[in-house]
């Protein structure tokens, strides 16, 4: 959180005059942060439980295309297309989860395989059907849907994506900090054996979390499809790492057992400010990834130091 404030001050000083602090500048980085943050909230819970999901970016592209295909090409009502997209997402997550807990193969590999399988399948099917990688017209086709209105435009001066981001982050934080399930998530990630010996069903906890992550991908896919009136299979890939980066900057331990969706919210905000703020400065934008890598390393080093201090044996 302190890092997020520091980055804000840096860009406010460096790029404040060129639009970073303007209404448009603010809305732009908040929207970027929101799209990452919506995914990063459930990803945080999954990381706390000690697992990865590298397929979440590919899932965004896949479920977006499924939704647009049904609503635009098949003339389904928007809610029905949205519902099927949710089911496809849940099936993707359930598959990830069941493979991980039954085979014992690390989730890093299982979800990497899922990432390529989703990208390949959605690309091949979409291209064979439309000769393109995208389907256009979903905003027009859903113009009269009241459900679609939740994913379009502004409310209270902020993009809808920001409200989804805040709502999902708050819900994820409540689940993790204030429910029995949340305690099990922490325990499973902190020491799986200890959790199982205490009667926690570690497999069910993990499968539930694997299922929740792609469900959030439906929200991100719908928000971005309705914003530009187009679903594209290539939208999404890359976000799998951005979500992990947001969670880790926010204090989530990549080996599991610690983390919080509120920390991740600030991590996503920092990511949004860095990725947009950079282009408002006079620095050559080709340096962006170098800057991002440095910020990531510094943030993680600070988090690690703080955690080390907290875990020190009380010798008093």
């Amino acid at each position: 959180m302190a890092g997020t404030v520091a980055v804000f001050i840096f860009f406010a000083l460096e790029a404040g005059g060129s639009g970073f602090l303007s209404r448009l500048g603010t809305t732009t980085y908040l929207d970027v942060a929101a799209n990452i943050g919506i995914l990063a909230a459930p990803v945080t819970l999954l990381l706390v439980a000690g697992e990865f999901d590298l397929s979440v970016g590919a899932a965004v592209g896949t479920v977006g295309i499924v939704e647009a295909f049904l609503v635009v090409d098949q003339d389904w009502p928007f809610w029905a297309g949205f519902l099927v997209a949710l089911c496809v997402a849940a099936a993707i997550g359930l598959t990830n989860g069941l493979i991980v807990v039954t085979s014992g193969i690390p989730s890093f590999l299982v979800t990497l395989a899922m990432m390529w399988a989703l990208q390949g399948t959605s690309l091949a099917l979409t291209k064979s059907y439309t000769n393109q990688t995208s389907i256009t017209g979903i905003t027009d086709a859903s113009a009269h849907s009241s459900l679609a209105r939740l994913f379009r435009g502004n409310a209270g001066g902020l993009p809808m994506s920001v409200w989804w981001w805040l709502g999902i982050s708050a819900f994820a934080a409540w689940v993790l900090h204030r429910t029995r399930f949340g305690n099990w998530v922490y325990a499973v990630g902190g020491s799986k054996d200890a959790a199982v010996r205490s009667g926690v069903d570690a497999r069910r906890v993990k499968v539930a979390l694997f299922t929740a992550v792609p469900v959030a991908a439906v929200i991100v896919a719908t928000l971005s499809s309705l914003e530009v009136n187009q679903a594209d299979v290539n939208r999404g890939p890359g976000m799998e790492f951005q979500t992990i980066v947001a969670a880790v900057i926010g204090g989530t331990l990549i080996s599991g057992g610690a983390g919080s969706p509120i920390g991740t919210l600030f991590g996503a905000l920092l990511f949004g400010m860095v990725s947009q703020g950079f282009f408002f400065t006079n620095i050559d934008s080709n340096w962006f990834l170098t800057f991002l890598g440095t910020v990531l390393l510094v943030a993680v080093a600070i988090n690690q130091y703080v955690r080390h201090q907290q875990l020190k044996r009380d010798t008093g």
């Binding site: 409540w174 900090h177 204030r178 429910t179 029995r180 949340g182 305690n183 099990w184 922490y186 325990a187 902190g190 020491s191 054996d193 200890a194 959790a195 010996r197 205490s198 009667g199 926690v200 331990l253 057992g257 610690a258 907290q310 875990l311 020190k312 044996r313 009380d314």
Partner: protein, 256 residues
């Protein structure tokens, strides 16, 4: 440990083989309320196999298990926990990185709320933890601190107190002192004695005869999967126990 009390847990004639290896041959042990039954033996004597059978992790090939004189067959650790038999393992059934209170209530978290909407009662979880730990002499600065900030002995006590709090009638303690220094071991042994005052039966598994004699009421020595000797406290002194563990024949005529 009056003999009129019912036997909480009795294992009788337990047999277990792994392929050609006879891990346990006709092994019996029992524990009454408020009693500490020590299970002694060197590495490979069959202690671990017997604990796993008592805690439902593996099934015996022969023999019987009785909980309060009712025959039981555990096919999963959950069944043993449900029957009131809790096992506290050597490497601790706790999560170092989690706050102390979240460890203490793990698996039996207090909740509040209405109908299907229930959430963690954090205030009560902290209160329970502080109260229960204070009762055993662990004074907490803050129950929200990570478990890792406690000493090894304190952590072992937290694990035992937790099992008792969740409702264990029989505690199986697997080498609770083996990784601890003298002072830390003392804390744990004192607390084991404390536990029996709540009518809990304890099966203490150890290879340290001195620690066993500090708290034990009965002593079962395993060797190569067989019961070598069974003593009650009246029948043995600490030197004899040490000698028996050192694998020399006890000689009552000399040691009197």
């Amino acid at each position: 440990m009056s003999t009129s009390e019912p036997v909480l847990l009795r294992a009788e004639g337990i047999v277990k083989s792994f392929g050609p290896v006879n891990a346990l041959q006709e092994v019996s042990i029992s524990v009454r309320p408020g009693e500490v039954a020590c299970l002694l033996g060197d590495n490979g004597a069959g202690k671990s196999t017997l604990i796993k059978i008592l805690s439902g992790a593996i099934q015996p090939d022969g023999g019987s298990l009785l909980v309060e004189d009712t025959p039981v067959a555990f096919t999963h650790p959950r069944h043993a926990i449900a029957a009131g038999i809790a096992t506290v393992y050597q490497d601790l059934a706790l999560v170092p990185i989690l706050p102390i209170y979240r460890n203490f209530v793990l698996g039996a978290e207090p909740v509040k709320g209405y109908g299907p909407l229930r959430w963690l009662d954090v205030a009560r979880a902290k209160l329970i933890t502080e109260h229960e730990l204070k009762a055993i002499g662990v004074d907490l600065v803050d129950a929200s601190r990570p478990l890792a900030t406690l000493s090894g002995g304190q952590r072992q006590c937290v694990a035992i107190a937790r099992a008792v709090h969740i409702g264990a009638k029989v505690l199986i303690l697997d080498e609770p002192t083996s990784a601890l220094g003298v002072r830390q071991s003392e804390i744990v042994l004192r607390y084991i004695g404390e536990t029996t005052r709540r009518s809990v039966g304890v099966i203490l598994v150890t290879h340290n005869p001195v620690h066993a004699y500090r708290v034990g009421d009965t002593f079962t020595i395993l060797e190569h999967g067989k019961v070598k000797t069974v003593w009650t406290r009246e029948e043995v002194d600490v030197d004899e126990l040490v000698r028996a563990m050192a694998n020399r024949d006890p000689n009552p005529a000399v040691d009197g």
